[in-house]
Symmetry: C2
Subunit: 370 residues, 2 copies
Amino acid sequence: MDVETESLGEFEFECGESIELDVAYETYGDYTGDNAVLVCHALTGSQHVAGHGEDKGTSGQAAAWWDDVVGAGKAVDTNDWFVVCVNVPGSCYGTTGPASENPETGEAYGPDYPPVTVTDWTRAQRLLLEIIGVDSLHAVVGGSVGGMNVLEWAKLYPDFVRKLVPIATAPRLDSQCLALDAVARRAILSDPNYQGGRYYEGDPPDDGLALARQIGHIMYLSKHSMEEKFGRRAARKDPSDDAYVSEDPTSRFFPYRDVESYLDYQAERFTSRFDANSYLYIMRAMDEYDLAEGFDDDGDALAAYSGETLVVSFTGDWHFTVEQSEDLVESFRDAGVDVEHHVVESDYGHDAFLVEPEKVGPPVKEFLEG
Amino acid sequence: MDVETESLGEFEFECGESIELDVAYETYGDYTGDNAVLVCHALTGSQHVAGHGEDKGTSGQAAAWWDDVVGAGKAVDTNDWFVVCVNVPGSCYGTTGPASENPETGEAYGPDYPPVTVTDWTRAQRLLLEIIGVDSLHAVVGGSVGGMNVLEWAKLYPDFVRKLVPIATAPRLDSQCLALDAVARRAILSDPNYQGGRYYEGDPPDDGLALARQIGHIMYLSKHSMEEKFGRRAARKDPSDDAYVSEDPTSRFFPYRDVESYLDYQAERFTSRFDANSYLYIMRAMDEYDLAEGFDDDGDALAAYSGETLVVSFTGDWHFTVEQSEDLVESFRDAGVDVEHHVVESDYGHDAFLVEPEKVGPPVKEFLEG
């Protein structure tokens, strides 16, 4: 494994604004000329897709988030495949993002960072691959907004890639997800510490970011898995152990629940590893993604792609539904693409693509090797 | 119609704390000795269940929230039934609540208000009915947490009521709803204006309350109805018209969406009519409600009730699901209660009991008269 950063020079974003952009990436395995697999990370993930027994000092999805799927002898076998993963522009794991220093001011970009899109991510990945000498991709694989990133490859660079694996994703978010994401953004924006996005010299808007993450976290779990995991059980600890908010006056009679304790604990872990502006920017990139943009429809957007596709979806996922994946499969068919749809029976919700590697790995392995 | 307030004197809450409690209520129709129907309002509703062409100066659910169902010649016909609706303790429409003056301090109760339960609501309703001379109920009808209030009547006062109509409700919330409600409470608590609940002399925690309401609002709509109503359309107005938060830096490239505009507008209306502490207290009463508490199970809790029951549920409701109503119906059967389950086909989500009166009214009418 190598962790590297490359400069893309002056990079013009889709919005028309330009900055000097460095991108952080990792590679696994050896490049043989035709074995490159690009893995696209999800919203709060990083380029650190798999570990090698080392502690990278990150946590959550940033800590070897697909270590059970990618590696030597694993489903995406790094003995066979040269795996590349790039931290997307807007994120905060090494690629120039809102928390990075703006060379013109000597301060963090903050709200001066360009509004970023999934198209920008895809273009940055393509430029990075050129720099490191990769001139075609055997496959692009990714889940959630990383799956949107996969779809964008078929749309922007249809001749560059032979196989696509969009997982737990959709050509665009529906209104319910847009609404929940909008509330999450408002939670950050209405935190007085947000300071119009220029909070890097003071206290960051952690309360707002915690709320935003908790909303997201609930979206990633299924109703059923939450009921199984937490039910209505009281936590075995005191709110002061986890809760990030001041005391609720009703808590003098009612319990602190396990599900609250879990969400509070996860939120605290998250705020220590993620930048609030990055969350705003890349969540917005996800919200704004629309495969059909600039085309008549999704099938039209995919029409130039002539490789193969494996769509993977999860029955318990209410964020990116099986029905949305079915529609996506139809669009690939309309575009004349050889496509399979693998529906995973799972209670876990959207998170299943991360927490049930044993259900995701085998179909992906077979498809990459087939 | 009469709007009245009665003093219940010193009222001891389930938590053991006591305050002087006034309750606000309205009645419709004439009492004949055996025709009283208690209607229980939902989370942010009021005693003003139906209007008489008058403007009450309230909005949202507080403005004659079931005017299409209750009234002369309507499904709950006030020519036949003497309808009573009581503002629940903890709310802010006339019944003593957190925003009311504490006579001991001359200031609002705020966080000194007793943590309140659905049991307290039910006991307060019973005391009020005694005071106004109602010594039995033909029926208790209510939706959402008002439906929990209905169930509590069967548990606390099984001989006082002959018919129950719990609508769009459940014997207890599941873990997903608890989690979303917990995040909503954290939004209020983490607003610096909350000031430990003593904000009545300053600016109220409207940003937090707006976030809390937006989370709730999304829970009341269905995925399908949101997609139909808003899709991904951009709003035809500027964020400054509605948005209650400072500008999102990504908004210089991306649109303000219709669904955001709707949620912002609704949140602003809500914060102007509702008290943040009331929202905390009564949401917590809903979260903590558990029909089986103190009994072996739900059937055991209902065993002393010998009247009839009509359970109404809605196919698009993901907050209080049809499955939860099926379980409730089973529990009534276990308890030997004559019970029907009316499942309404609806895309509207939890809100259907308010916004599709034409689907709710007829079965309720038939059941009350049958």
